[in-house]
């Protein structure tokens, strides 16, 4: 969802930018107006810039609600601890952030749904967190930036006893 919004935002801004300036380079007097990929000058001195993920947000990337980094929960299928393909981009975003901020640590909290025995579910939660850890480390995150803790079924996100609840509980949370 976040990715879609970001793309829309980028398209929207681009359209705004294109409508405000000439599409071909022209010479007026001594000034040279050229189009650049990241910025363009309009005649009246106003500047607009194209939106890109990093540059529109000037604060801490972790606080950017439109960034992939805002996704802090990864969900898993029943009895599975491998990370689904649709979460790989999220993991890459976190990996990139961590790799470029070596002083930052992340706590990976693994969970399981309530079915089955508690100690085995502690192990399942840990396997899930370790799967996320492996992917992060494969993309350059250092071992000492990652703490892994499993809560098994002890800290559910939902206290209901149905498939929806169980799906919400099979997760790894990235806690900064």
């Amino acid at each position: 969802m976040n990715r879609f919004l970001t793309i829309l935002f980028a398209i929207g801004l681009s359209l705004l930018m294109l409508s405000g300036c000439s599409s071909t380079p022209s010479r007026e007097g001594g000034a040279e107006v050229t189009e650049q990929s990241t910025g363009a000058q309009t005649g009246a001195g106003a500047t607009t810039s194209a939106a890109s993920q990093g540059e529109a947000w000037t604060g801490d990337p972790l606080q950017n609600p439109n960034s992939l980094l805002a996704t802090r929960v990864i969900y898993f299928d029943f009895d599975q601890s491998n990370v689904r393909m649709d979460y790989r981009d999220v993991i890459s975003a976190h990996a990139e952030y961590l790799a470029t901020h070596p002083d930052v640590t992340v706590r990976l909290e693994g969970h399981a749904d309530e079915r089955g025995t508690r100690e085995y579910n502690l192990a399942l939660g840990e396997q899930r967190a370790m799967a996320v850890r492996s992917l992060l480390m494969a993309e350059g995150v250092a071992d000492n930036q990652i703490v892994v803790v499993s809560y098994g079924e002890e800290r559910p996100a939902s206290y209901e006893h149905n498939e929806e609840a169980w799906a919400l509980n099979r997760r790894v949370e990235l806690v900064y």
């Binding site: 089955g116 100690e119 192990a123 803790v149 809560y151 098994g152």
Partner: protein, 430 residues
Amino acid sequence: MRQFFYLVVFWVAWQAAAQADLTIEITEGVEGALPIAVVPFGWQGKAQPPQDVAGIIAADLHRSGRFKTLPQVDMLARPTRGEQVEFRDWRGLGVDNLVVGHIQPSGTSGYVVRFQLFDVYRGEQLIGYSIPTTGPNLRRTAHRIADLIYEKLMGVPGAFATRIAYITSVRQGDGPERIDLRIADADGYNPQTIVSSSEPLLSPAWSPDGRKLAYVSFEQGQSAIYVQEVFTGQRRKLTSYKGINGAPAWSPDGRKLAMALSKGGNLDIYVLDLATHKLKQLTHHYAIDTEPAWSPDGRQIVFTSDRGGKPQIYRIPSYGGPAERVTFQNPYNARASYSPDGKLLALVTREDGNYRIAVQDLESGVMQVLSQGSLDESPSFAPNSSMIIYASKAGYRGVLAAVSVDGRVRQRLALQEGDVREPVWSPYEK
């Protein structure tokens, strides 16, 4: 109106000190339960006796599901000694056995409890004892008497003078959870909180002498194994390695603790020597190995492993060696434990998507499913091997239940508030 509110609060608080935390309902009893009458005990003292000893005995016997106890209102006479008994009266009421007794004060704070058990049809005494005790121990003495009666009539020791430990979880609305580790008498009386936490507590395990509990606590932000003396409250942290510290299990001689640790990269079974603190790794497999439990002779450890793809029960010599698979029925079997007589394993099995309690006969390999829920777990044998207490769900609430090993007697124990889970039955106290 305000006055009423304060009164209620006070009353509940006062009651809570003595009242049962758990209420027990028999949901299924044994056909042919033995009819017995336990006559209110005589009392030779000034004030009221501090406990209804006969009431405690009758409740114990009734709770076992194997006795049908005569209500006090139906008793035509109230003998307190053998000489006073008219057996004809009791035959007419259809009771097979009769218990009479009385309590005498002894010294400044003690009592002597005398009781006799009779065969009504033969008009004979079967057993009779005189037991000195103290005020605080009067309930325990009543439970011991119930044990003696049970053993005489059933041929198997009773398990009434025992305790259970369990975990409770209470949440006020959307507020924080409070998780307690509690112990209570096996009839639910005298509940005491021994640990209270806002972080998870799990896997309580009684030491073989019944004086300590090992458990897993997340109070420091990750799992660690603690051992706590039940009667002094003293505790020490045993392990807090990186990764999971879980599933503590005492060896029968109390000198070692088996456990599941993932400090080596994946969860394996280890054995910790409590005196030397030396750690020995028992399993060396990349799969999940957890939930160890010792055989009564201390020579084997059963554990849960998914090395075959899904969780099943395996067995390994406690001094190390190859693991062999033990369960072959159903796609999921976990958390096995030996009966104290060494004949059965209790475990959690999944059939048709339902998680249930089952026993497997170690000699024949035959598995029998004993419970009927869909999310049953944490089975624990009574020390006389005749019953299993476990965690179940009633609607959305966590409750405790007990079932006899032949599956014929079933009970439910319900906590008044919150969720109850992870029951463990204490061994006989030494």
